[in-house]
Symmetry: C2
Subunit: 219 residues, 2 copies
């Protein structure tokens, strides 16, 4: 049987969010590169996969999905085992905490961390647009407030949703990984529980492997 396919280069954060899930569940997959500079993501063939003209898209047989966080859930649900149960949908309270911290990633954490990555790495490297320091400075201040909440949470729980790793943790991987290449990485030093959590995550074979693709020169 053909493996599942991920459309979009492995060096993109939202693609990495999907790949790290595939590595965690141990399913064979093929990455089909989409030529971003050639605007292949805006061409009909890719728009048929993802009507918003962005990456990633994901194919499993006849099923075509888009939106990285939705794809992640599909993978973690389909290939769930007793050992790798990242959504915890069999337990109402655990599933709720996974959902809470997955939403926090999207709407609190990424909202303030992603602009720092974009301004410090992606805009200058990939688009030749200089860093807007005002945006960076404002985002750094907001990130500190968010990390205070994370510190409180992670000083009481091993992982975000509780004492078990979940999709909520995995979802933080791609942008945090890029953030660690910015001049603001040392911000995490002030939040020891957050730093320990991140270092523990980065020991996972899935994250080690996928992080090598997230190279700054190749945004």
């Amino acid at each position: 049987m053909a493996p599942v396919k991920v459309f979009g280069s492995a060096r993109f954060t939202n693609v990495a969010r999907v790949l790290v899930c595939l590595e965690e569940v141990g399913v064979a997959y093929e990455v089909v590169d989409i030529d971003f500079p050639a605007k292949e993501h805006k061409k009909p063939e890719h728009l048929a996969r993802n009507p918003f003209g962005v990456i990633p898209a994901f194919q499993d047989g006849e099923l075509m999905l888009f939106e990285s966080r939705a794809i992640a859930k599909y993978i973690l649900r389909k290939y769930r085992t007793d050992e790798v149960d990242m959504l915890r949908e069999g337990n109402l309270q655990e599933a709720a905490m996974v959902d809470v911290w997955t939403e926090v990633e999207a709407h609190q954490y990424n909202k303030v961390l992603a602009p720092i990555v974009m301004e410090c790495i992606i805009y200058p490297t990939a688009y030749g647009i200089p860093t807007n320091q005002k945006v960076v400075d404002e985002s750094v201040e907001k990130l500190k407030k968010v990390l205070e909440v994370y510190e409180a949470r992670l000083s009481e729980h091993e992982y975000l949703a509780g004492n078990f790793i979940s999709s909520a943790d995995l979802s933080h991987f791609p942008f945090t990984c890029r953030f660690m290449e910015t001049p603001y990485a040392s911000l995490f030093d002030s939040f020891p529980s957050v730093k320990a959590w991140w270092e523990k995550l980065m020991l996972r074979p899935s994250m080690k492997k996928i992080s090598t693709n997230l190279h700054p020169k190749m945004v």
Copy 2:
């Protein structure tokens, strides 16, 4: 048994996202008003419920949740019946499409529609900040592109995730409801399938009831 509690005024969009789910599953609930002008959401009592100091928060016995989209999932999962099955987690493909269009709401639709609501209604009415017409105009152009994708989808399917109503549809309710009070409501006239979908949703008792709380003068 005490009903579940929702912390936050019913006139806020993110609270309405939770309330419409409670109405759909038919569970008794209590809304505990949080005095926004008095900054009650930033006080320790509320920060214990939602560490980010925003609304809503949700209490079911010992369990306290935050992030409206996570709360919505908890409600729809806990009170799922064969008749009211808005997450479709028993069916891998259906659940995936629910997740895709729920993520689209958050990351494509709301991202361009919410600024129009904020600039046209909420900033001027609640904060006395004049509308930034440049933001509105740019968002309107982006919204048209998003609605083209919705039109294509809804011309082929009764609801966003397929031919069944789901949490993906419900999640669009609060901001679209407010959008219909802006001078740009007629934009939907150019997208007949989207308009028919919205009108069908607004016939639901849940949305009729909760929309009466989303009054523009009371933002």
